[in-house]
């Protein structure tokens, strides 16, 4: 029989995970509206693959199957993978990424709660390193023809017909090709994929994520530290550099509403397992992700930097936590970084 405390607050891992999934729905709805139902197919693929991999690993490790399978954590990983991968990527890309995420990044480290790296971002980074072409084929806004997308996913039809580069990718390619005349305004102005502030259609998906994220904040599933620090730091860095030279550096609004910024801010950076946990550490961690994201987007070789930025900060998370321990009751004056 258990010891004190003898009664617990009604809360469970499952309800936390479920609410995260619910918070993703507005973004997914916008995704379907602008880019077709392919994303639902990808989510289904990733979910099935994740649950299968989870069940396999749990069975191999001799853990109670139903208890852990129903905790929802595998589904969260699966959905994040589906949402961060191009929705018209071939089916095996999503499935392979999901399997690697669940098996290598999660269960080899002991499963839920013990993985030092964000599994979804491990999947993204592995796949973009291995298949850079396939990972850069994004659907064009308005291309909602499901039959064509089905064919793209299951391999019958060449991708190019329905895909185009994202604004981030286009901008990076243009500025990197040492074309002296290329400027942010020039590249973005002529690009049909660009909408009001970010990618056409993508900005609405981002708004959906933002809405879901705000709901998560209101539900106290995530704390304000990470999203705020992430978005503020990204704004600040992008703002300063675009002030310095707005032909070479895109402005803050562009950075906020393109790529995976909003998904990252509320659903990826906020992962408590692989991130930091102290209040100060959370601020440092999220600001670090923002800085690295901006650096990789601007100077690096990959179109979006969030995955790498998150993984890089994951590496430093234990140390950040170690050196930002909040002072303990009664030790407020002398503690700080004394460890």
């Amino acid at each position: 029989m258990n010891n004190s405390p003898y009664f617990l607050k009604p809360a469970s891992v499952q309800s936390v995970m479920l609410r995260v999934l619910v918070a993703l729905l507005p973004g997914i709805a916008a995704y379907v509206w602008f880019f077709g139902a392919a994303i639902l197919l990808q989510i289904a693929l990733a979910s099935v693959a994740a649950l299968a991999a989870e069940a396999l690993m749990l069975a191999l490790r001799g853990k109670p199957l139903m208890l852990f399978l129903t905790d929802g954590s595998a589904l969260v990983t699966a959905w994040l993978i589906a949402l961060s991968f191009p929705s018209i990527a071939p089916w095996w890309l999503t499935v392979l990424g999901t399997l690697l995420a669940i098996i290598v990044a999660k269960h080899l480290y002991g499963g839920l709660g013990q993985n030092p790296f964000n599994p979804a971002m491990v999947a993204f980074a592995l796949m973009i390193v291995a298949y850079p072409q396939l990972m850069s084929q994004w659907p064009a806004a308005g291309a909602t023809d499901f039959a064509g997308q089905w064919q793209a996913i299951f391999g019958a039809r060449p991708l190019d017909a329905i895909s185009m580069a994202t604004p981030l990718d286009a901008l990076r390619t243009a500025l990197h090709t040492a074309d002296a005349k290329a400027s942010v305004a020039g590249v973005l102005g002529s690009n049909p994929a660009v909408g009001v502030v970010g990618g056409k259609g993508w900005e609405w998906v981002a708004a959906g994520y933002l809405a879901g994220g705000l709901w998560l904040l209101q539900q106290r599933i995530i704390s304000w530290h990470m999203p705020t620090a992430f978005l503020a730091a990204l704004c600040a860095i992008a703002g300063v550099f675009s002030l310095i030279d707005n032909t070479q550096f895109a402005g803050p609004l562009f950075h906020l509403f393109t790529g995976g910024t909003m998904l990252g801010a509320f659903f990826i950076v906020t992962d408590p397992v692989s991130g930091t946990t102290t209040p100060k550490g959370k601020l440092i961690f999220a600001a670090g992700v923002a800085a690295l994201t901006w650096i990789i987007r601007t100077f690096g070789a990959y179109p979006d930097g969030i995955a790498f930025a998150v993984l890089l900060m994951n590496i430093g998370a234990p140390l950040i936590d170690l050196y930002t321990q909040p002072p303990v009751f009664g030790h407020k004056d002398k503690r700080g970084d004394s460890r």
Partner: protein
């Protein structure tokens, strides 16, 4: 060819001289490590490690002559600490040196004791009091449970008794970890 030889010879001389100087300048005497190892050992002085006491064993470990898994009273916990201190891999207790037993103390059966003082001479920590032809008794608080007094006793009047659990020394148990019972053994 000659140039090559000269260059290498020159290098050898210069580096040799530098090293030779350093060896003299930075000579180290004594071994503070022994103290640190000795502090980890349980000080039962039982000799199960095949050394005459804890300190000799510590010296042997520091010199690299002994393995770290030869101390049964220290148990796995002690080996882990040694492994941590020395940056070596953890090894489980070597079977030839004994097994980890619950901590116990020696008790002399006063009906049988003949007062021969042999156990007094054997006790490494002077925890047995008595005199020739007089009853001996063990100071339980200072007994390390090394069992060295058992063999010399001619009448086998000494027995080891495990320390009983009381409200004072009772320990909270490891919470039952329902997810993975195998981990408890491993951890």
């Amino acid at each position: 060819m000659l140039a090559a030889l000269l260059v290498m010879a020159l290098g050898a001389v210069v580096l040799g001289a530098a090293l030779g100087y350093a060896a003299v300048r930075f000579r180290v005497e004594g071994d503070p490590l022994v103290e640190k190892i000795d502090a980890i050992l349980p000080q039962t002085q039982c000799g199960q490690c095949s050394y005459p006491g804890c300190r000799p064993y510590a010296t042997a470990i520091a010199k690299g002559e002994a393995e770290i898994n030869q101390c049964p009273p220290g148990g796995d916990e002690g080996i882990r600490k040694l492994a941590d201190l020395l940056g070596r891999e953890f090894k489980s207790l070597s079977a030839e040196h004994g097994i980890e037993k619950p901590k116990s103390v020696a008790v002399i059966d006063e009906q049988i004791c003949i007062g021969c003082t042999l156990c007094i001479q054997a006790c490494p920590v002077d925890a047995i009091v008595g005199a020739s032809k007089q009853l001996h008794t063990v100071i339980a608080r200072q007994c390390t449970g090394c069992e060295l007094c058992l063999p010399p006793c001619p009448v086998d009047c000494i027995s080891m008794q495990a320390i009983r659990e009381s409200v004072e020394n009772w320990k909270w148990k490891y919470p039952v970890f329902k997810i993975n019972p195998a981990q408890r053994e491993a951890a």
